[in-house]
């Protein structure tokens, strides 16, 4: 193609072309759709309980119904549903923050020491009488400290190799096991509060009332907004440490802020509903698949997805509990939602891992 007289010219052939910039795909329809799913899940969760029939619930919501039905629906079911939704949102956003900050698709509050640490904090505070279910704020603070302790332990253990996702994952599992062991030891030393402590280990929305809701929503809102404000730096951080630093980001500071935010969100959720397994690890993958890599959209998207998943799991758990009660003729049998998310999550994790064997984050 070159002749004797014309010097070959790289990249010249493209010069005259000027195609139009395609319009970006709007995420709004997907966000609205997911919001509708959350609303549907909320309704299902309120309807799913045992003591009041769906017709009774409907009557209460319209302002009628007898006193007992009103109490059950308005003071038990509605706050429980709200707590389930917001706790799910918190865990999902916490997971997304951790995965982005650590650049690790296998990071989640459950496997980075955050959730086990928060559980340990809550259990220690309760077991030694520093807090109980009547003083939920003390539990939140204790869970936060515990979560920070867990994450800090991981930070110290991974040392200089903390940029390696595998290293973080391995040490995260180790830290989580150690913290779980410590929690078990506390349970042995101070078994008095055991009954109320087990719920933190599995995760349940049973008995969550307005008091919990009143504590959870301002906390979740505050840290949720903080998480969204970090969307810019975190999107950049997901492009890689080098790339982010090169583009002008102080990576250590951004990562630190994201970790604090993630710990606070996870601790808020843990102190109200306990360690709901796999939500923080898997829902971010769902959110990223739905909303893409721009965290300005994906952070709220993850919050909605987490709310839908935990709300849905709670409704399922109630229906399932009812089924089990009929099956075993045991009236007081309930299925904790944490058992359900853990069981379903394990299956989903297998799907995620198998679907993308060589996927580099």
């Amino acid at each position: 193609m070159s002749s004797d007289t014309v010097v070959p010219t790289p990249a010249g052939r493209r010069a005259g072309r000027s195609p139009r910039l395609p319009a970006p795909r709007s995420p709004l329809p997907r966000l609205v759709l997911l919001l509708l799913v959350v609303l549907a899940v909320a309704v299902a969760d309120v309807l799913a309980g045992r003591a009041v029939t769906p017709a009774g619930v409907w009557e209460v919501l319209l302002g009628g119904g007898d006193a007992l039905d009103r109490h059950v629906v308005l003071n038990l079911r509605v706050p429980r549903m709200l707590v389930a939704l917001v706790a799910g949102a918190c865990l999902a956003v916490a997971g997304l923050l951790l995965q982005s900050a650590l650049r690790n698709p296998l990071a989640g509050p459950e496997v980075t020491g955050v959730t086990p640490g928060a559980v340990l904090g809550a259990v220690v505070a309760t077991g030694f009488g520093l807090a109980d279910r009547q003083s939920p704020l003390a539990v939140v603070v204790a869970a936060c400290l515990g979560g920070l302790f867990g994450a800090g332990l991981l930070w110290v253990l991974t040392g200089r190799r903390r940029d390696d996702p595998t290293e973080t994952a391995v040490h995260g599992v180790l830290v989580s096991a150690v913290l779980g062991g410590l929690t078990a030891m506390v349970l042995l030393v101070a078994p008095g509060e055991l009954g109320s402590v087990v719920q933190w280990l599995i995760g349940t929305t049973e008995g969550r009332v307005w008091q919990h809701w009143n504590l959870l929503w301002p906390w979740a809102l505050c840290w949720g907004v903080a998480a969204w404000l970090l969307a810019g730096p975190l999107t950049l951080l997901r492009c890689g440490e080098d790339q982010a630093a090169e583009a002008g980001l102080d990576t250590a500071r951004a990562r630190g802020a994201a970790l604090v935010c993630a710990v606070a969100l996870a601790a808020g959720a843990v102190s109200t509903v306990g360690a709901l397994g796999f939500v923080g690890l898997l829902v971010p993958h769902l959110a990223l698949a739905l909303f893409g890599a721009d965290l300005r959209i994906t952070v709220p998207g993850a919050a909605l997805a987490g709310a839908a998943v935990v709300g849905g799991a709670d409704a399922l758990a109630q229906v399932g509990g009812r089924g089990l009660a009929v099956l075993w003729d045991a009236d007081r049998l309930t299925l904790p939602v944490g058992a359900l998310t853990t069981a379903l999550g394990a299956v989903l994790l297998l799907v995620v891992v198998r679907r993308s064997p060589a996927r580099d984050f």
Binding site: A11, S18, P233, D242, E246, G248, L288, G292
Partner: protein, 307 residues
């Protein structure tokens, strides 16, 4: 973009081709603030780079052992040398990503050492050796990340692209892929996107770390040709690390050779690229001739030099 239309095949290489003799003596670098170029909105010359006696190393391994280098405003310089000679490290020091133990770096009249990460990133952009793309991130989203230094953490939350993003996409010819995920592109396409990311920074200094690695010859020439064209259109100061001495001799106005963390040769390709350079800098025995059409030096490496 209007400036994309001005580039005709002949213009791409008019400087080297039009002047007999060694390329380096061609007055290409004296390009005036191009009336037909895209830099009319950015008056003044781009800043030069001054590196003074820079020493940098890791605890067990010294990398740069006192590098002095002055890059004139608007110059296109190639850094060459063997693996581990400190080329990439020097680029990272100039970009402000590594802090030298001794010595200083100035961009124009400003001392790089006193700048915050973001301030430095507003003045100098570095195209890294390839990093794995983020799954699902579109070309537009990735290139938009280049605006972080200008917009700041909260500014990134605002919607919309900057003009710099649109222009960077157009200048590298990737506009039509804006909504495609980066991980679905081929290696050559990705490199153009990464060049767009560096250009979106809208800096007057552009550093490129082996921009042609892993690319086939077609895409190597494409990327280098784009760099040459953009340097002229945007009036940039460019320093690039190149492994291929042939590319360096053809595309750069000046070649700086590093060996063991020191500058060992510095000058226009016609003067610097000699059999002695091949032996002393690259440990290769070979011959050098002159391209009959373009006039730039061409290397004919024979075999590795065994000490």
């Amino acid at each position: 973009m209007r400036n994309a239309k001005g580039a005709t095949p002949m213009e791409e290489t008019r400087g080297p081709a039009g002047v007999p003799g060694p390329v380096g003596t061609a007055p290409v670098r004296g390009v005036p603030p191009a009336p037909e170029g895209g830099s009319a909105d950015r008056p003044g010359r781009p800043p030069g780079i001054t590196v003074r006696d820079v020493v940098f190393g890791y605890p067990d391994r010294p990398v740069l052992r006192g590098v002095d280098l002055r890059v004139a405003p608007g110059e296109l310089t190639a850094l060459i040398g063997m693996n581990g000679c400190g080329k990439s490290t020097l680029l990272r020091v100039i970009a402000g990503l590594l802090r030298p133990e001794r010595g200083s770096v100035s961009l124009g009249d400003d001392d790089l050492m006193g700048m915050s990460r973001r301030e430095a990133a507003r003045r100098v952009a570095l195209l890294h050796q390839s990093a794995p793309p983020v799954p699902g991130m579109t070309v537009r989203q990735l290139v938009r990340q280049g605006r972080y230094a200008a917009r700041g953490p909260l500014g990134m939350l605002r919607g919309g692209d900057d003009a710099a993003v649109t222009r960077a996409l157009a200048d590298t010819g990737v506009t039509e892929w804006a909504e495609r995920p980066v991980d679905s592109l081929s290696g050559g396409e990705r490199q153009r996107v990464r060049l767009a990311l560096a250009l979106a920074r809208d800096t007057r200094i552009l550093l490129l770390d082996e921009p042609t690695t892993y690319l086939d010859l077609h895409h190597q020439l494409e990327v280098l040709g784009t760099v040459v064209r953009l340097r002229r259109e945007r009036d940039l100061t460019v320093v690039m690390v190149l492994h291929d001495l042939g590319h360096a001799a053809r595309f750069a106005e000046r070649i700086v050779a590093l060996r063991d963390g020191r500058v060992v040769a510095d000058g226009p390709p016609g003067e610097v690229v000699t059999p002695r350079l091949l032996a002393e800098v690259l440990d290769v025995v070979g011959r050098v001739s002159v391209d009959p059409v373009g006039g730039w030096p061409v290397c004919h490496p024979d075999h590795p030099l065994n000490h």
